[in-house]
Subunit: 302 residues, 4 copies
Amino acid sequence: MSSRVAYLGPAGTFTEQAVRQWDVGRAHEAWPAPTVPAAIAALREGDAEAAVVPFENSVEGSVPATLQALLEDARVRICEEILVEVQFDLLSRGSTTLGQVDVVATHPHAAAQTRDWLAQHLPRAELVQESSTARAAQAVAEGRYDAAIASPEAGAAYGLTPLARRIADRDGALTRFVLLRRDAPVPPSTGADRTTLVALIWQNRPGALLELLEQFAVRGIDLTRLESRPTGEGLGEYCFWIDADAHLSEARMSEALLGLRRTCRDVRFLGSYPRADGRVPAVPVHADEQAYREAREWLESL
Amino acid sequence: MSSRVAYLGPAGTFTEQAVRQWDVGRAHEAWPAPTVPAAIAALREGDAEAAVVPFENSVEGSVPATLQALLEDARVRICEEILVEVQFDLLSRGSTTLGQVDVVATHPHAAAQTRDWLAQHLPRAELVQESSTARAAQAVAEGRYDAAIASPEAGAAYGLTPLARRIADRDGALTRFVLLRRDAPVPPSTGADRTTLVALIWQNRPGALLELLEQFAVRGIDLTRLESRPTGEGLGEYCFWIDADAHLSEARMSEALLGLRRTCRDVRFLGSYPRADGRVPAVPVHADEQAYREAREWLESL
Amino acid sequence: MSSRVAYLGPAGTFTEQAVRQWDVGRAHEAWPAPTVPAAIAALREGDAEAAVVPFENSVEGSVPATLQALLEDARVRICEEILVEVQFDLLSRGSTTLGQVDVVATHPHAAAQTRDWLAQHLPRAELVQESSTARAAQAVAEGRYDAAIASPEAGAAYGLTPLARRIADRDGALTRFVLLRRDAPVPPSTGADRTTLVALIWQNRPGALLELLEQFAVRGIDLTRLESRPTGEGLGEYCFWIDADAHLSEARMSEALLGLRRTCRDVRFLGSYPRADGRVPAVPVHADEQAYREAREWLESL
Amino acid sequence: MSSRVAYLGPAGTFTEQAVRQWDVGRAHEAWPAPTVPAAIAALREGDAEAAVVPFENSVEGSVPATLQALLEDARVRICEEILVEVQFDLLSRGSTTLGQVDVVATHPHAAAQTRDWLAQHLPRAELVQESSTARAAQAVAEGRYDAAIASPEAGAAYGLTPLARRIADRDGALTRFVLLRRDAPVPPSTGADRTTLVALIWQNRPGALLELLEQFAVRGIDLTRLESRPTGEGLGEYCFWIDADAHLSEARMSEALLGLRRTCRDVRFLGSYPRADGRVPAVPVHADEQAYREAREWLESL
């Protein structure tokens, strides 16, 4: 097995920042994959031992390509998460001035996060979509556009100059990246963990979503993310992506998983792993490990 | 251990009918206890191997003395149930006519079930309470009252004559009796079982009763009886008596019990035993034994 | 209309205490009715303008005769409630000593509340049931029994001497009495009110009780009493007696009533009236009158 | 007010098909706006009386630009919906053969819906993103790419030839378009209507989403769409887009709206309008107009 880590490239993406943040002091080779599926294909073919891909963003929501790729390979699991603060600069080749910018390239997520700035400072510029902000920076370096909206790191990677710094409309935007492995064991519980799941409910059963939420609620598990996504089978057909504040090895979580498995059309376990922010959940006294153990002993005594 | 069966006497009560219905072809000695606590005391002291007592009645509800006695001895459990159809006659000594009846004795439950008949046929008679219908019949035989409302069996037992037959205002009233043992194992599942429980919820937690009901609902268990009873600790303090359509050995029931044990202030298991009517519950496909087994296998595969 | 108040007699009952507590300084004639139905019949026939009857007791639960009588006359409503602290003395004729007491008369509720005392001090005495504690006291005065368990007031009313005082096993037991009127308007809201209801759910609809409770929960209404009672139609057929912490004229309560009316098999409104303890409920900010008014204005603006 | 209808252009988009499908026999001028916000700006400035924009798609989910634009102008409402069946052709200039296709342009949604076909037939072609499938077709007509994935209509509009027809991986994909107006009244109920809402729940209140769903469930309203979208305020902060099967003028819907308004942090009403498929919802008997009317009459009688 290679010690390479595949990531959504090219060099200069926020994903590369995530790899560096994770990798400080470790000796991995980072390989920039052209797309999320390509990064995951590298896992499958043994060309990489891990893959780092963007998962969700506090402004635009989840990254569909990552969700799709996770669903397609049942042996791939989330083993870690990494949070990166997102900053955008307007980058150009050295001599360009703001008045000379007619065409700006970026990724649609970055365009959405800088919309107000653009409306104020470059109201007439044409906006061109590229598949990543780093690729937009690269294209500016190649002379194809006047300027790119990308990270300071992308500016550095492609030798561009910032025309304006920190142009995001909101401060403090975060992107969450996940580190994926294939056929890897679930990392042990740290006491501050998350479990990622996808549940497909029976559409024709009224109250099925209520039931799904109750499986967590009756066991005192908070959900930090609940996102509906179309299954592709028709308008109104959804699966639900869930992040729950507990680890597979905790009794309340394993019991909730049993409940989901019994009542949902399908459920996919995508990993239990430490929270990047280390926040320990407030477990109600009736749902902690001791409550489960004590209840189990009582049941056996009957 | 004695092979005696204690029952709520005297001879001629509906409880004796229950003992006979249960006992057909078996060689037990039936011992008429004066009260429900006395019947249970006989169990405790080894004077009886089983006790048969009334549990609830389709007109008057549960029998408080039985509920109280069950709560007081944690080693006593319900092992069987017996349904007896309740019929009432107006019974007197041979020569009495309806016009001569000034004082009628009976048990308050029987009075309630024959109220319309009495209002129509004996509007001026005085009604005297006795502790059982059989005791009322006995008192009539002793000459203390003019007539008793009691079962035909009680009439036969005390040599009384029916002045009027089947005088209950509603046909088809049933009384449910339970057979209790002490330190007995839970009888095996038959596929058509009931579990009797008492749960004490946390009064100061809003929604605690909703939560209790959801513990059953999320696991597809029907409740055939839910009765609130004061705990004696103050107005508004209740415990809940529950009959649930499943057996302790079924996964859905044992999981519900674990949930109750974790979330309730207290929970008492009073027995899993075959339903007298043999009705097999409709278990939803997501809650049957196979669904639990399959879910457990899936969880272990993770 | 008479200015008489009917109450559950005879003189000396706790109900008479309730009448006095309510009536201090008013000029009503109190009439002791022999039974709860007789007190209510006096309302119906115009022989009384109000009736005071026991409703529930913190040890024994509700009083079936009152619940039954309320169900039978749809024009009778609860207009006030009165709480009486229950105390029991052992009462006898002057010369009797404890050692001479062989037969004790009382009401079954009082027997239940003094059971431990009796077991300790009069373990061999025979216990005889009377229809009220006051009637037991009267019978002792007539020489029919050795002693009665009844209130100090009953002792005074019938010229008996206390052999032992305050013999209840638990201190602080309360009985709640209700004052009934016929065809009376609902008293205005005081801010600390109760509404009494009876709801009959559709037994064959799974989750019907959950739904009933949710009608209150989604509107932030606390239930201070929930009691299941058999409907008399068969084992497992219940109606639910509910006391809810809100007044008919409050938006959250009227909306809950609309919800019940639509979803239940039947619902009976038995009155909105001030709480005897004056406790003001904690109304969640999303369910108070202002929240309802503001929401209504918003809806009209659409 | 102009009689122009703005739509997401250019000519040849699926949105234009939606306009035509809606407009058959009417005499509107259709104006192709470059972006969704531009189409809505035309409404605001009086340059168009209506705007037609894509809302959701059975494969890719909702269209973020439309959701965003609706949130930003509180006076814009959905007045109609139009469903268009999505078909894709591979389009090129006349003489090109499949073997000559090195670069394919399309919109990311179309790329996602033809991925399997592309993997099989053009595994080595480079995929370029354009802002709409029609724009991709236009770019092919201008000679910038070898082929476009777009609708047959786009092929016709730009004089292209289909190299392959109906290349979508799944048949029957639908896109739902909405017709927006500004300051328009809610269209009257037809009996088969939908209401679109956005609700922002109190994140720090556990069970807030359960409560939101119960507001609909207790009133028998089915939700045909529930989609969480980040609010942009941080990871884990969502608003919920809801399509509910009822009209604002129906009692069950207006009561649910009142409930949401009281319990949610914010709620936005975006329109009640006829369902494009005309499907009449199965209203439970306890939630239809008659049940509400009857309950209201009963409440007034109290």
